[in-house]
């Protein structure tokens, strides 16, 4: 369970990115965080594993106060939180397998990491994950030779290698085309449900958020302005998050099956 209380982040340039965010994630499932650019979505996610240090407030994962940890304990806490990035952030000159295994860096010794001698069960788990994300046979490809969608699959495998208690996902699809974006979201959501891992997903695309999330949090100007199910995301709610706009085309009828929707669109195009 993740409990965030009164989280504030003020950057050295005076920008208050978060102005007292309080939220609790108790159930496994996908929580989408939506909001305009600059609303503090990335800061929120980075404050949870303290890639960004919050100014005040508390982040508690299960019964561990992440905000109070020293360096060594913080590294241990980070092992429990897998992170997936918008620009994938794979180490480009390393192979797919090395990137996936880097999810175990927090568990192996420096010399094991140096010699790339990971425990056999980790290697087996890595092969399974590569299979699962559809990259079987690519383990020795260098990461810079992959397409965007393939890179994000590696990113997902790397995060899941940590066997995390929480997934932090920062704009996983913003650099991808619409079809690949849906595929990536589907893999992510399926795996999160399968493993029972709660996932906090920053996402720009309201449509994707509605289709894939179990819960949606709306962030505006550093504050939570919406918290509810994807069906509760009405025109009024979107206006509260993003400001005035004609939302009629954005809101999806709650009962529409998105797979059929996709196919219908393809059929129309043909």
């Amino acid at each position: 369970m993740l409990k965030i209380t009164d989280l504030v982040k003020e950057y050295p340039n005076g920008l208050r990115a978060l102005k007292g965010v309080t939220l609790t994630i108790a159930d496994p499932g996908v929580v989408a965080v939506i909001g305009p650019s600059g609303a503090g979505k990335s800061t929120l996610i980075r404050c949870i594993n303290r890639l960004v240090d919050p100014t005040s407030g508390r982040v508690v994962l299960d019964d561990m106060d992440v905000t109070a940890l020293g360096r060594r304990d913080l590294r241990k806490a980070r092992r429990r939180m897998g992170m997936i990035f918008q620009e994938y952030n794979l180490v480009e000159r390393l192979t797919v397998m090395e990137n996936v295994l880097s999810g175990r860096l927090g568990y192996v010794s420096f010399w094991q990491a140096w010699r790339r001698r990971y425990p056999p069960q980790d290697v087996a788990a890595a092969f399974d994950l590569l299979d699962r994300v559809g990259l079987d046979g690519r383990e020795n490809t260098r990461a810079d030779a992959l397409s965007g969608g393939q890179r994000q699959r590696v990113g997902i495998a790397r995060a899941l290698m940590q066997r995390p208690d929480l997934l932090l996902v920062d704009e996983p699809t913003a650099s991808l085309d619409p079809k690949t974006a849906r595929q990536i979201m589907r893999i992510l959501v399926e795996l999160a449900h399968e493993l029972g891992t709660p996932a906090l997903v920053n996402i720009h695309d309201v449509h994707l958020a509605q289709s894939f999330a179990d819960r949606v949090i709306g962030l505006c100007d550093g504050e939570v302005v919406f918290d509810g199910g994807p069906a509760d995301l009405t025109a009024e709610a979107l206006t509260a998050i993003y400001g005035e706009e004609d939302w009629s085309a954005t809101i999806r009828p709650a009962d529409e099956d998105d797979e059929n929707g996709e196919n219908a669109a393809v059929a129309e195009a043909v």
Binding site: N49, L51, R75, K76, A77, R78, R79, M81, G82, M83, F85, E87, N89, L90, V91, E92, R93, L94, E98, S102, G103, R104, L105, G106, F110, A113, W114, G155, R158, Q162, L168
Partner: protein
């Protein structure tokens, strides 16, 4: 009616008075400094025939004392190799500490200070200094080239680390990796090819510089060259100069060949 709108790019210095004033000041300074050079045309005219006689005595180049030549060349090459290798190793910690995105401010400033101080003085000055300390010979030359290599390679390394993709570092940090593991997994893969390229380039540079530091007593072929000038053995001097040219050519080819293969 014709369009009368015109556009000119804005001048570099906006105020016309300042702009024309600066131009005038530069011209005046040029005239004044040329006047102050005090060129003695008599000595220039005497020097020309002297140069002619010197070149006459240089031809044909004399390779009779080739053993001396070979010994000098081998010594220069050894100096270049040893100093590049040692410099390459010492430069790693200094370069890392001089990267502002990896270390705390005081460490950064200290490492930058080392680089600035070592870069301030030219190799020849370091060579003069080391010749005073350890005496004439290749040891002084090697020490000089080590100092020069360390400052050069560590500066390039620091710049590369500062320009690397921090996203990759962030991702590895997010797995719970410690600082040494981040260096190993996110920093090294990004900078290794460039680092090796710089080190190979420095080897090439050290071959050239090893001939210069020899002139002030740092050993190698440069030392042999000074001796021939002092004894007016100009034909042997030319032989040495030709050898140095060949040596630098080979170094250049080797270095660009290796760097072309590093990717």
């Amino acid at each position: 009616m014709a369009d009368t709108r015109i556009w000119r790019p804005p001048a570099l210095i906006e105020s016309p008075a300042l702009r024309h004033g600066l131009t005038l000041a530069v011209i005046l300074y040029l005239v004044w400094s040329i006047g102050g050079l005090d060129i003695d045309w008599g000595r220039v005219s005497q020097g020309l025939p002297r140069a002619g006689r010197m070149f006459e005595r240089m031809f044909p180049p004399n390779f009779e004392r080739w053993e001396l030549l070979v010994r000098g060349v081998v010594e220069s090459l050894e100096m270049a190799l040893v100093s590049s290798l040692v410099g390459m190793i010492i430069a790693v910690p200094i370069g890392l500490c001089a990267a502002g995105n990896m270390v705390p401010k005081p460490v950064y400033l200290a490492a930058r200070a080392i680089i600035v101080v070592t870069r301030t003085f030219h190799e020849v000055i370091w060579a003069l200094f080391f010749v005073k300390i350890v005496g004439f010979g290749p040891l002084a030359g090697v020490l000089t080239l080590i100092v020069a290599s360390v400052s050069f390679i560590s500066k390039m390394l620091a710049e590369d680390i500062e320009n690397m993709n921090m996203g990759q570092v962030e991702a590895v940090r997010a797995t719970g990796a410690s600082f040494p593991k981040i260096l190993l997994y996110a920093v090294t893969p990004q900078i290794l090819p460039r680092y090796l390229g710089v080190a190979i380039y420095r080897l090439d540079a050290n071959i050239r510089h090893s001939t210069v530091v020899g002139i002030v007593g740092g050993g190698g072929i440069g030392m042999t060259l000074t001796a021939t000038f002092k004894r007016y053995d100009y034909d042997f001097s030319l032989a040495i100069l030709l050898t140095i040219i060949a040596l630098v050519f080979l170094g250049e080819f080797f270095s660009s060949w290796v760097r072309g293969r590093l990717r």
